[in-house]
């Protein structure tokens, strides 16, 4: 079960991605084992087709539900880094950010991307309940008196 997770985590970087992918996998497997007529989106199908066969072999009719329960429990224990960005990243950039983060820190770190336009540029993080602002907005706040002084130079 853990290796299933590791395989999936190899190219899933955010929590949302993980949850959607797990759901897609589950739906597919249930369709496979028990029949059903559920449409899945092309991106999901694409990803599913990229999964190695060894993964699929681990699932049988009996253990499918139990396995998913275990996976969900394990997901809860994963560390999550919440990132506030000024833009909504697409797949590619997500991949880039994700891999960078994984390289820098633990390989099982998950991201939670949120949108906040008030950060003019850059990003802010929330780690273990503490919020830290690395954005331009924060920098501006810090340098406020200097900026004002500079402006004042233009006043006659």
């Amino acid at each position: 079960m853990n290796d299933i997770l590791t395989i999936i985590l190899k190219d899933t970087f955010t929590l949302t991605q993980l949850k959607t992918r797990l759901k897609a996998l589950k739906v597919y497997l249930i369709k496979e084992f028990f029949g059903g007529d559920i449409e899945q989106s092309p991106s999901d199908l694409n990803w599913l087709s990229n999964l190695p066969q060894s993964l699929y072999q681990q699932f049988t009719k009996d253990n499918v539900y139990k396995t998913f329960e275990d996976i969900e429990e394990a997901v809860h224990t994963l560390p999550v880094l919440t990132v506030y960005l000024t833009f909504e990243p697409n797949e590619n950039s997500l991949y880039q950010i994700g891999s960078f983060v994984r390289k820098l820190y633990a390989t099982s770190l998950l991201l939670d991307i949120k949108l906040d336009l008030n950060l003019l540029a850059g990003c802010a993080f929330v780690w273990k309940g503490v919020f830290r602002d690395y954005s331009l907005r924060a920098k501006l706040e810090e340098k406020k008196p200097e900026i004002i002084n500079n402006f004042k130079k233009f006043l006659r």
Partner: protein, 217 residues
């Protein structure tokens, strides 16, 4: 006659007439006696009253002569005394008059003196008063001037301070507005201008910084 006496009514009436007759005779003699005594008494009184009248006349003439003499003496005495008194009082009046005149003259002199002296002293007092008043007035004016000056200064100072604070507050607001404007402009521009690569670079930079500061383990 005996038969007549045996009848009771006639007996009783005869007794009654006998008694009445006796009584009448008694009364007649009594009356005679009393008129005689009356006459005697009358004569006695007449005599006595004539004697009394005579004595009274004598006494009267004595008294009258005494009285005349005494009144003449009294009149003489009184007239003497009265002339003495008039003389005395005349003398005293004259002397008193003389004294009074002297006193009046003296009084007049004194009052004129007094008038003059008082005139002089009032003049002096008035002039003193005026001087005093002038002094006080000038003092007062100077004081009020000073006070008004200080109060005006204080007002000015406070007003200036108010203006200063207002100016400062406004400036601060303007500063904040400037910053806000800048932030807004930046946000509009950056979202358009910053390429994806730049954004990603910023994110990487932040991540690395976080690692250095041990924010994320």
């Amino acid at each position: 006659m005996l038969e007549l006496l045996q009848q009771p009514a006639i007996l009783i009436s005869s007794i009654i007439t006998l008694i009445a007759l006796s009584l009448y005779f008694d009364e007649y003699f009594e009356r005679k006696r009393s008129s005689e005594t009356q006459k005697k008494v009358f004569q006695d009184t007449k005599q006595k009253s004539a004697e009394l009248l005579q004595a009274a006349e004598e006494a009267q003439t004595n008294l009258l002569s005494e009285g005349n003499f005494v009144t003449k003496q009294l009149i003489q005495e009184y007239s003497d005394k009265l002339s003495d008194l008039i003389k005395n009082s005349g003398n005293s009046i004259n002397s008193a008059q003389g004294q009074l005149i002297a006193f009046m003259e003296d009084l007049q002199k004194r009052s004129s003196d007094f008038e003059e002296a008082s005139k002089i002293s009032t003049e002096k007092r008035i002039s003193q008063l005026f001087e005093h008043l002038e002094e006080k007035l000038s003092d007062f004016l100077i004081q009020t001037e000073q006070k008004t000056a200080t109060s005006i200064e204080l007002e000015l100072k406070s007003v200036r301070q108010l203006i200063e604070t207002y100016k400062n507050a406004q400036l601060k607001m303007i500063d904040e507005n400037i910053i806000a404007m800048m932030e807004q402009t930046l946000s509009i521009i950056l979202t358009k201008k910053l390429s994806l690569k730049d954004q990603l670079d910023l994110v990487y930079e932040a991540l690395e910084k976080a690692k250095i500061e041990k924010f994320i383990v």
